[in-house]
């Protein structure tokens, strides 16, 4: 187990290192001089040079890369030039919207998809199964931003139950703030729930054929205890991979949905920062998103290895 952990940790660090290099190189070739964008095209050459020096843009690329990574490791971040606040502070503010949004979407999708998937699996080949699978196909085909637009039209404009856009902030009260996140969370959850229901169904179907399920039935357990106690517990193992991945992608997937609802979250931040060439912000947010994906994958692998010793050999 120790060798496995050490190897996986090494892969994690290597992946993060390569990803940070990739981000840095991509932002290097990004056209548009940030200093010029701040000052405008009529800027004098000497003011431009002074600002470039102040932003550290005149130093060679390797030095700037090391400064960035060194800063991250020591916990100090650059200053965003559009917001004039430290990037970490900015990310913290935005995460306060995006993280609850992603968690809410994940909870919703799990709460809907697992019972649906189990229902379909236990009725394999019957109308209930086709119904759930049909719903899942439709859920996967609906773009989340279209669903978001339609839900605004119905639930915000026509019925007036939810705010159409914006976020009141947590200061307005937890209830009011959460209420503003309901429609975005449902929009984000829909395609994820559709995928998760399919995975649950096939995973449960595989488990239903196992010997221990037959044993559990043979010893007279009622069907509900067999399903929830034995089948689901074992079927959950492959599903954690999907759940882990979904959380990571929900953070990023919120880019489009946050734009529909004008939510001040991480997704909107990165989208605006790219268009404003606020590269100090872009590189930190992208690396954060990558880190979440990589760390979640790592945790899932470790959990696998802890449960199933065979998984320790691969990898």
């Amino acid at each position: 187990m120790f060798a496995f952990l050490a190897r996986r940790l090494l892969v994690l660090l290597a992946t993060l290192f390569v990803a940070s290099l990739a981000i840095f190189v991509v932002l290097e070739i990004l056209p548009g001089d940030p200093a010029l964008l701040i000052l405008g095209i009529e800027a004098q050459d000497d003011t431009l040079a002074a600002l470039r020096a102040q932003m550290g843009l005149d130093r060679p690329a390797p030095v700037r890369y090391l400064t960035w990574i060194g800063g991250l490791l020591s916990g100090t971040s650059g200053i965003s030039h559009t917001y004039s606040v430290p990037v970490f502070e900015l990310i913290g503010e935005r995460l306060a919207v995006t993280a609850p949004l992603a968690v809410l979407a994940l909870l919703l999708s799990t709460a809907v998809a697992i019972p649906l998937g189990m229902f379909a699996a236990t009725r394999r080949g019957r109308p209930g199964d086709y119904g759930v699978m049909g719903f899942s196909q439709i859920g996967m085909a609906i773009p989340n931003f279209w669903f978001a637009i339609l839900s605004i039209l119905v639930f915000a404009v026509a019925l007036g139950w939810f705010p159409a856009a914006g976020f009141p902030g947590w200061e307005a009260g937890v209830g009011i703030a959460l209420w503003a996140l309901v429609l975005p969370a449902v929009s984000l959850a829909l395609p994820e729930a559709a995928i998760l229901a399919r995975v649950t169904r096939s995973s449960v179907l595989e488990t239903l054929g196992a010997e221990y399920v037959r044993t559990a039935r043979a010893k007279g357990l009622d069907e509900r205890r067999v399903l929830w106690g034995h089948v689901l517990r074992n079927a959950l193992i492959p599903m954690t991979t999907i759940l882990g991945l979904q959380f990571a992608f929900l953070l990023a997937g919120s880019i489009v949905v946050e734009n529909v609802f004008a939510l001040p979250g991480l997704g909107r931040l990165i989208f605006q920062a790219v268009s404003q060439r606020d590269l100090v912000v872009v590189r930190d947010v992208v690396l954060l998103l990558v880190a979440v994906v990589v760390v979640v994958n790592f945790l899932v692998d470790v959990a696998y290895a802890a449960i199933d010793p065979r998984a320790r050999r691969a990898g």
């Binding site: 992946t15 056209p31 279209w146 992608f249 997937g253 990165i270």
Partner: protein
């Protein structure tokens, strides 16, 4: 074939999509950019089957040309992914050793970047526009096909007939051409269908964000963006383009699932992004 309803419905919807796109090349009910303010936001009529938009442009026409746009995005983006990714995956599997490790780990690193983030960064480098959005989506498809082709090829290489090919003096390339490629082609076809659907969704999202197809050229995603401020006056502006995207993606997904059932029931295509 009629025992596969997924395949039938998928083929039907995909057929309609392709037909709409093909017909739009030679004929559309109106020109897609003819504005007529007097006729703005009309309901369906004999002259305008699905009504008109905020500039009085014919919505049916714009959806047809939008279908053409979506199909070209799908074809080129999947083409880039297949043309670069599949040979890369097959090469990695044939070579093994550090080359294989490099390709596998490389794909892992690319997958750590959420697709929409990479697409935004790539369009930021290349500039917004239809062609650049296609390239961005195509680049994302490369590791998808590399990983799928590598995994399937490794399985074939584990077979005795592949080893036997080497034993009778065929080169790694020869075995790949004669044994690996024919055996993994069904995997690639199924994955290509799924990625086609993913590409249509991705292009719509990019166009919605203003990074894809630029107006006045019609794109389903851009039509949704334009509709957002007007949908309280005229809901069909927001409903029709989304319905077109959903039906196209539904058709391609069902077609992919159906093809998988027909070609090889054991296959499970990867669903990412």
């Amino acid at each position: 074939m009629f025992r596969h309803p997924n395949f039938l419905i998928g083929a039907l919807l995909t057929g309609i999509l392709c037909l709409a796109a093909l017909v739009s090349l030679v004929w559309t009910p109106h020109a897609f950019d003819t504005m007529s303010i007097a006729e703005r936001m009309q309901g369906p009529s004999a002259a305008h089957w699905l009504g008109t938009d905020q500039f009085g442009r014919d919505i049916a026409t714009r959806l047809m040309v939008g279908a053409r746009n979506s199909i070209s995005v799908g074809v080129v983006a999947v083409g880039i992914g297949l043309a670069v990714g599949a040979p890369l995956g097959m090469y990695a599997a044939a070579r093994g050793g550090w080359v294989d490790d490099l390709v596998a780990r490389g794909a892992d690193v690319v997958f750590a970047f959420p697709a929409i983030v990479s697409a935004i960064l790539i369009t930021a480098i290349l500039g917004p526009g239809a062609v650049n959005a296609i390239i961005a989506i195509g680049i994302f498809n490369i590791p998808v096909f590399a990983r799928v082709a590598r995994g399937a090829s490794l399985q074939v290489w584990g077979m005795e007939y592949a080893r036997a090919g080497l034993a009778i003096g065929k080169t790694g390339f020869g075995v790949t051409r004669d044994h690996v490629l024919p055996n993994i082609s069904s995997v690639l076809i199924v994955q290509a269908t799924i990625q086609f659907a993913v590409a249509i969704l991705a292009e719509a999202a990019l166009a919605y964000l203003g990074l894809g197809t630029q107006p006045p050229a019609p794109s389903w995603g851009r039509m949704l963006f334009d509709a957002q401020t007007l949908m309280t006056i005229d809901p069909k502006l927001a409903i029709l383009p989304g319905l077109a995207i959903a039906l196209a993606v539904l058709g391609l997904n069902l077609l992919g699932d159906g093809l998988r059932d027909i070609l090889d029931p054991r296959l499970r295509p990867e669903r990412l992004g």
